[in-house]
């Protein structure tokens, strides 16, 4: 298996799906260039018609994606930074998410939105936000948050082939993370969690970049005799509740690590699910380790204080297992 990085994984997924299906095309701001490298080289292979630089018109081109999907194509729309999703929420939440249902099942929206999210080093409040929780509450959207190159590739390919609107959130810090990635048609189904480390004493459900931090914390905890299971849901909608509940049934303790601001986070949602359906398994309070409820600040020390690190995960674990 070749070792590639997160960005290369995106690039391969796009390239393979574009080769496979002429209905797949990519549009977004400067995708011909690919600021982070994800779309680099695509225009050379597929031409300007299928790799389209858009004007700065997020609602316009996010909505053009909806229309092109309704007309039968399979658009992959790039929103450079997740924070800019706020500029096209109507097209995603009122149109893409609802059109199939409102049309009584007529419309098929095979439509993917990709974006970079998360605190990536002094990008400040308007370029660092974790914006998936806002879409959790909107039925009709699938939400994918890969934590490494192999999942990134397999999930993005599944997202593009999915006949529904899918939002793919790519953490900006993961770009250079390397990993072995299966060659060929590597698909990861949407809705299937992955146990990234097995453990007995507590379950850490970790999302996106938090998987790395959780693994780091698990390593530290292991040395202290605490055996942590790290579970990556990989997709928030659909959510693999069963795997989460099974893990909690085994461990009796749950931490959810999420870079979103704690209030209204995906961690809150998962906590609520377990506090209902997994209540009897729980031996301890459910802890959310998430960003503080303030915008992401600019200065490195401030940013680090706001977003969750391995230390905060480990501390929460010690509290639970202490």
């Amino acid at each position: 298996m070749p070792t590639i990085n997160f960005i290369q994984a995106i690039n391969e997924a796009l390239r393979e799906e574009m080769r496979r299906d002429p209905g797949v095309f990519v549009m977004g701001e400067d995708v011909e260039f690919g600021a982070f490298g994800a779309t680099r080289g695509l225009v050379e292979e597929f031409g300007k018609a299928r790799v389209r630089n858009t004007p700065l018109s997020e609602a316009g081109f996010a909505g053009a994606g909806v229309g092109a999907a309704m007309a039968g194509l399979r658009p992959v729309v790039e929103i450079e930074f997740a924070s800019f999703l706020y500029c096209c929420m109507d097209q995603i939440c009122n149109q893409a998410a609802k059109l199939r249902y409102m049309s009584g099942g007529q419309a098929r929206l095979a439509l993917t939105y990709r974006c970079v999210f998360g605190a990536m080093g002094s990008a400040a409040a308007q370029h660092s936000e974790t914006v998936y929780p806002q879409f959790l509450s909107v039925p009709g959207l699938k939400i994918v948050v890969p934590s490494g190159p192999a999942d990134m590739k397999g999930l993005l390919k599944s997202a593009i082939r999915d006949d529904n609107p899918v939002l793919v959130f790519e953490h900006g810090r993961l770009g250079w993370t390397q990993e072995e990635v299966p060659e060929g048609d590597h698909l990861v189904p949407l809705g299937q969690a992955s146990i990234k480390r097995e453990g007995r004493d507590l379950t850490i459900v970790a999302i996106g970049l938090m998987v790395q931090k959780a693994l780091e914390a698990a390593e530290t905890l292991a040395a202290e005799g605490i055996s942590a299971e790290v579970l990556d849901p990989r997709t928030l909608v659909p959510l693999d509740k069963r795997s989460i509940l099974e893990s909690v049934a085994k461990t009796g303790r749950l931490i959810i690590a999420d870079e979103a601001h704690v209030t209204g986070s995906a961690a809150s949602e998962i906590a609520a699910v377990v506090a209902d359906e997994g209540f009897d398994y729980l031996d301890a309070p459910i802890k959310r380790v998430a960003s503080a409820d303030v915008p992401i600040p600019f200065a490195p020390a401030l940013e680090a204080a706001v977003i969750p690190g391995a230390d905060r995960i480990a501390n929460a674990a010690r509290e639970l297992c202490g």
């Binding site: 997020e58 081109f61 909505g63 909806v66 229309g67 194509l73 109507d90 009122n94 419309a107």
Partner: protein, 327 residues
């Protein structure tokens, strides 16, 4: 009103369409007040020439997006009365199985990408539909219908620019009925001619008498030809007026407050698009009063058939609320 040069069949067809829209909406107004139709209903009575003229220039494989005031667009594009009526009644035999209602009717089989409850939201969707045609090399045209109010939404601007710079086969049809809800265009837009906005995108901006179905048709035909030829989008402003309230039953909302003059309304009623075409047809000897009456009575039958169909259709079953979310 000039009908010369237009084939009789087209003209009579346009009469039939306009008349169908008019009667459909008059009928649903009654049904709304009788409590048969729930939700919000927006009537386009008086504006029938716009969808009719535009859609008469389209092929069945062309596509449209509509807005909250959509019955006319849907009927003109070929929407069937039975499933439309059933949808407005909220029945499972409706276009959307009762899930959409008046503001969300869709018929993908005939290129109706949807009415829309969000003002301005259909414009990017039509633009994307046109992009699909360009990408696949199909010679289809897409049309976005929207109001003067919607022309102040950012989506109009972004879509128009996108379409122009990419030379997409899309037509932006602005139904300028002089009001958005109860606010006159003079208080909402710095320009009274929306067509002038075409210049901001290097796009032809054409204004026509929106109550002259032939004028609308001719302008649309030209825009369609332009689009099919790959020469890009057109902004087509049709000046018209709505005879009814913004929403059926608005009187209760306004609590007696007036927002437009009875005189204006009376003036516009004198320019009824249906009457004008009927008169022109009769004057030109293209149709007799009897022929038109015959059409009218056939429309009544179709309409009653649709109402009966809707009334007799089963209610949607509560369990159906939970299907159709994902493909």
């Amino acid at each position: 009103m000039k009908i010369d040069g237009l084939p009789r069949e087209l003209l009579v067809g346009m009469y039939r369409t306009m008349r169908t829209i008019r009667r459909f909406e008059e009928r649903i107004k009654e049904l709304f007040f009788m409590g048969e139709i729930p939700g919000f209903v927006h009537a386009s009575i008086g504006e029938e020439a716009v969808p009719t003229g535009v859609c008469s220039a389209l092929d069945p494989s062309d596509r449209i997006t509509s807005n909250h005031r959509g019955h006319g667009h849907l009927i003109a594009k070929g929407g069937k009365l039975r499933p439309m009526m059933a949808e407005l009644f909220g029945r499972r035999t409706g276009y959307c199985k009762g899930k959409g209602g008046s503001m969300h009717v869709v018929d993908l089989s005939i290129g109706i990408l949807g009415a829309n409850g969000i003002v301005g939201a259909g414009i990017p969707i039509a633009t994307g539909s046109a992009l699909a045609s360009q990408l696949t090399g199909k010679k289809e045209v897409s049309v976005a219908f929207f109001g003067d109010g919607a022309a102040n939404e950012g989506t109009f601007h972004e879509s128009a620019n996108l379409a122009a710079v990419w030379k997409l086969p899309v037509i932006f049809v602005c139904e300028n009925n002089a009001y958005a809800e109860w606010t006159p265009i003079s208080e909402a837009s710095a320009v009274s001619d929306i067509a002038i906005r075409g210049q901001a995108y290097g796009m032809p901006g054409i204004a026509v008498d929106g109550n002259d179905v032939c004028a609308v048709y001719r302008a649309a035909r030209e825009a369609v030809a332009r689009a099919r030829a790959g020469s890009g989008p057109t902004l087509l402003e049709c000046k018209t007026y709505r005879w009814e309230g913004h929403v059926v039953g608005e009187e209760a909302m306004l609590a007696g407050k007036e927002y437009r003059s009875a005189e204006d309304l009376a003036q516009w009623k004198l320019r009824c698009p249906i009457e004008r075409l009927a008169t022109a047809l009769k004057e030109a000897g293209a149709a007799t009063a009897e022929e038109l009456a015959e059409i009218d009575s056939r429309i009544e039958k179709e309409l009653e058939d649709a109402v009966t169909y809707a009334k007799q259709s089963e209610q949607a079953d509560p369990s159906e609320a939970f299907t159709d979310l994902f493909a």
